[in-house]
């Protein structure tokens, strides 16, 4: 599925040289009304995710936040377009304790977003009923939840299926009081059985997953499952990637395939094609040095399949984010949620990293500011967290960079351990143009999870994969944001999950569009 335009894009990347726009964010936590803390002790040292998705039907992203020992909460977005961020807490049915993470997806294809709530104990699938109300659907969907420390999630629609395949990751066995190391419990895979889930199968061996992502890393059309594992607790483990042939058993990629052992405190995964070669790079958060992986050899002409052989380019690309960049604390950092978002709309995806000590680990920074790494024209990143106003010293975990007030600039919500979540409005002056796109198709996979959105700009084709998973215990569904830089319009197309290639269509910048197969884009406006 790789296009010839890849090569053109790669060559053009080096020519981008516009000035860097430093973004500005205004913290609106108090005024926003969001009041949610990720609470708990050892059993909640990981997790704390936030989900951004529209459960009210007004197009504005609402928020679901994990609360740990406090109840999870649902916050309906009451912001006006372009205005201050305002949320209202609503009784939604998700107000249960022990929630560690939240991912939105439309499981049953009814047009209402459902929620996967990862939990310390039995995780829950919550069926969306509309108007931001949910009901537990474990029984009705035959979702046989494990009693485990729920810590990671991803979903895909396998070829020909109208019902999703779910991967649920788990962490340490919390019952191991004295020697928990090496007690990683099995991740499990839920595949469809008609319009419900079959008995789950273990993804063994499992190595204490903290992030999972179904991703079409080789552009074969069949996603594989990447898993970030925490080396603190596994024995004999490493980062993993499972191939998942439709109808076949999952098998791990091995050294014979080109997969290199990597043992880190794997905590989060984010993906985006940064170099415009058509293949996604992967940011992996960890303690101390973070990773930024790119294929060792990307077949630029698309004539051959790549091997899953990744090299770490975080050091030369200045994406290490190894220790605090402001304040007096010089100890190494602890990184959690990672997410790419073009916060200044310069057509270059930036990288946000939520930071925070695990819990009083004296060898790691206690005052650990979140990072906002701006991708520059030369392909390297530049730290801008302090200038942008998001250098929070909270003990952060999850985050989302959804456009909460639909002004075309990604805003920011960060969850904190034992403290209130924080909300920032992106007010960047002079930001570039943008598009926000939502995918709609018939069938079970209404949101076209697994599709690739391509935006053709003068420097090449910018592509992003529509995924469910990754980050730290939380994700987003809804508008997919693409910065355009100075382009007043851009050609856009979608490579749909079933292999159909949409036509290139020129779309005026600074608008919202709903894209469907075999139909022109439909412009959308709030209200």
């Amino acid at each position: 599925m790789i296009r010839a335009s890849i090569l053109i894009g790669l060559l053009a990347t080096a020519a981008r040289a516009e000035d860097l726009t430093i973004p500005t964010f205004v913290e609106e936590t108090d005024a926003s009304g969001v009041l949610s803390s990720y609470d708990g002790d050892w059993e909640y040292m990981v997790g704390g995710g936030v989900a951004a998705f529209d459960c009210s039907g007004d197009g504005f992203p609402d928020l679901a936040l994990a609360g740990g020992t406090s109840p999870a909460s649902l916050w309906r977005n009451r912001s006006a377009q372009g205005g201050p961020l305002r949320f209202e807490k609503v009784e939604s049915g998700i107000e249960m304790e022990a929630v560690t993470g939240a991912y939105p997806l439309d499981i049953d294809g009814d047009g209402q977003q459902d929620l996967m709530l990862l939990r310390q104990g039995e995780s829950a699938l919550m069926r969306g009923l509309g108007d931001c109300r949910f009901e537990r659907a474990n029984a009705s969907w035959s979702f046989q939840a494990q009693s485990a420390w729920g810590s990671a999630f991803s979903a895909t629609w396998e070829d020909g299926q109208d019902w999703p395949t779910l991967a649920v990751g788990s962490y340490i066995d919390p019952g191991e009081e004295f020697f928990p190391w090496g007690s990683c419990t099995d991740n499990v895979l839920y595949r469809p059985d008609g319009r419900r889930f079959a008995t789950p199968a273990p993804l063994s061996p499992s190595f204490c997953a903290l992030s999972m992502l179904f991703t079409d890393w080789d552009r074969s059309g069949t996603p594989s499952l990447r898993i970030a594992n925490d080396r603190e607790y596994f024995k004999g483990g490493q980062e993993q990637m499972w191939r998942l042939p439709p109808g076949g058993d999952p098998t791990l990629y091995t050294a014979e395939d080109g997969w290199k052992p990597l043992r880190i405190w794997g905590m989060g995964i984010a993906s985006r094609d940064l170099d415009l070669d058509g293949y996604p790079e992967y940011a992996l958060s960890s303690m101390a040095d973070n990773k930024l992986q790119t294929l060792a050899q990307a077949p630029l002409d698309g004539s051959s399949a790549p091997r899953p052989d990744y090299v770490d380019v975080a050091f030369p690309k200045h994406a290490i984010a190894q220790r605090p960049y402001t304040g007096d604390d010089v100890r190494p950092s602890t990184a959690w949620h990672v997410e790419f978002a073009d916060v200044n709309n310069d057509a270059r995806p930036d990288l946000f990293i939520a930071k925070g000590n695990v819990d009083q680990m004296p060898d790691f920074a206690a005052e650990d500011p979140n990072n906002l790494l701006l991708l520059q024209a030369d392909g390297t990143f530049r730290e801008a967290g302090l200038e942008a106003g998001v250098a929070s010293m909270g003990v952060s975990r999850g985050a989302t960079l959804a456009d909460l007030n639909l002004d075309g600039r990604p805003d920011l919500v960060v969850t904190n351990r034992r403290a209130n979540a924080q909300v920032w409005r992106n007010t960047t002056p002079g930001a570039g143009h943008w598009l926000e796109l939502r995918l709609r198709q018939d069938g079970g996979n209404r949101d076209a999870v697994g599709a690739w959105i391509e935006v053709r700009l003068p420097d090449g084709v910018h592509s992003r994969e529509v995924t469910v998973g990754g980050g730290q215990a939380g994700g987003a569904m809804g508008w997919w944001h693409m910065g355009l830089g100075s382009a007043a319009e851009a050609e856009v197309r979608v490579l749909w999950p079933d292999g159909r290639e949409g036509d290139w269509e020129a779309l005026p910048a600074d608008g919202f569009y709903v894209l469907s197969p075999d139909a022109p884009a439909s412009r959308w406006s709030p209200g």
């Binding site: 009081e177 004295f178 020697f179 090496g182 603190e232 770490d312 290490i320 060898d363």
Partner: protein, 433 residues
């Protein structure tokens, strides 16, 4: 009557059916704390191999002194180990319980040595020490428990106060200097990784720490390595070529050896932990009594801690380039060592030095031809290996660094020599009356 069990059986008995049996024996207390120490080393970010060796040394000297205080056979190491003064003595004509005293001593010293471990380690320390303390006190008179516990804690505090002045008690930035000038002379060490902290070498001052049994870090000096040269006919180039050839023509058995002895920090209990595990397995197989256990482990801990001090003294005296740097510059730009190159100078090999020191101690205890099976890494999926002797294991550990592409031959051969010298100081300690 005491029953000495293997670690796995111990854990099973302690954790799963503890309520159905009498409190743990002193041997069980000792072995369970060893298991915990091995895990804490693996999961504490500052516990690089030198730091781990220091922790093991103080842990086992504490155990030894606690037991020796009530023993008719064991001699205190006070006056034998550098700057160690006599510790608290037991009150005459009053009974003490070894299990209670030992648990109190080991819990106290572990909590201090691993005060910087993460929340899971802290939780395990709390829960396990409470569990063991309750177990050993079961059925004993309260005054006996209080007296024994106080004795153990006092001994631990005495050892910790002694430890505090050795130069190795404070580890900042995980042992890496914030700034470092590696120098520009040809053949000197330069950073080999892209990890930010590792742009400076690990613990450059470790060789000046106070030693335990040998006089100081310079007590076992080594001759210089082959002179640095880029001449294709030089001895230095020949050693580099040997590393490259080994990587290119590596047999599966050689790869297995390299991985078995890799013992990476944060992914294993490190090289000194590996030898503690070997000793533990042999002691279990021998069904050794408590005094034999603390005696051997104290000697072993001292030997390995001194080995790292002596080795680091020489490493920073010679400050030699690593194979990966030299080979990529002069032989093969694409060279990829099998193992991760440690972030400090090459000569001599630390694993070689400390393995030889450990083998010297174990040979003295069990004989030069004691065959054994090492199952240290079975949990990590690496099968057990059999060895005809401790020295054979040390030689294999040393050679593994050449197979791994991280050391030249001179570093491993001279490391073994240095370790034998260091070990001799440890076996010269008088432990029996």
């Amino acid at each position: 009557m005491r029953v000495v069990q293997g670690l796995a059986a111990l854990a099973a008995g302690l954790m799963l059916s503890g309520a159905a049996q009498a409190g743990p024996s002193p041997e069980e207390v000792f072995d369970t704390n060893t298991r915990l120490a091995l895990e804490l080393v693996r999961h504490t970010p500052t516990a690089s191999p030198p730091v781990a060796s220091r922790a093991f040394a103080y842990l086992y000297v504490t155990a030894y002194e606690t037991v020796a205080a009530g023993s008719d056979d064991l001699l205190s190491l006070a006056g034998q180990l550098n700057d160690l003064t006599p510790g608290p003595v037991r009150e005459a004509n009053l009974p003490y319980d070894d299990a209670v005293a030992l648990e109190a001593a080991l819990a106290t010293v572990l909590r201090e040595l691993f005060s910087n471990t993460g929340p899971t380690g802290q939780r395990a320390l709390d829960h396990l020490s409470r569990h063991l303390a309750e177990g050993v006190a079961e059925g004993l008179a309260p005054d006996l428990v209080d007296r024994s516990r106080a004795q153990g804690e006092a001994t631990a505090r005495h050892i910790l106060a002694w430890a505090d002045g050795d130069g190795g008690s404070t580890i900042e930035n995980m042992g890496f200097p914030m700034t470092y000038d590696p120098g520009k002379a040809p053949g000197t060490w330069v950073p080999t990784s892209r990890i930010v902290q590792q742009q400076a070498p690990l613990l450059p001052g470790w060789g000046t720490n106070r030693t335990f049994a040998m006089p100081d870090g310079a007590a076992c000096p080594l001759p210089p390595p082959p002179a640095y040269s880029e001449d294709p006919a030089s001895a230095f180039m020949a050693e580099a070529r040997e590393v490259l050839d080994a990587r290119r023509d590596m047999a599966p058995e050689q790869q297995a050896i390299a991985r078995f002895w890799s013992d990476d920090p944060m992914l294993s209990s490190t090289p000194p932990g590996h030898w503690i595990s070997i000793a533990q397995q042999v002691l279990d197989e021998q069904e050794a009594d408590l005094e034999t256990r603390v005696e051997l482990m104290a000697r072993l801990g001292v030997a390995m801690a001194d080995a790292f001090i002596g080795c680091w003294h020489e490493k920073f005296r010679y400050n030699l380039i690593r194979p990966v740097t030299y080979i990529r510059a002069h032989l093969d730009p694409a060279f990829e060592p099998l193992l991760i190159t440690p972030p400090f100078p090459e000569y001599p090999s630390g694993h070689s030095t400390q393995s030889a020191a450990a083998a010297t101690v174990l040979e003295a205890a069990f004989g030069a031809d004691h065959a054994f099976v090492d199952a240290t890494h079975e949990d990590d999926g690496l099968p057990a290996r059999q060895f005809p002797s401790f020295w054979a294991a040390a030689e294999e550990a040393a050679l593994s660094r050449l197979y791994g592409g991280i050391h030249f031959r001179s570093a491993i051969e001279m490391g073994l020599e240095q370790g034998r010298c260091v070990g001799a100081h440890a076996i010269a300690l008088r432990t029996r009356r």
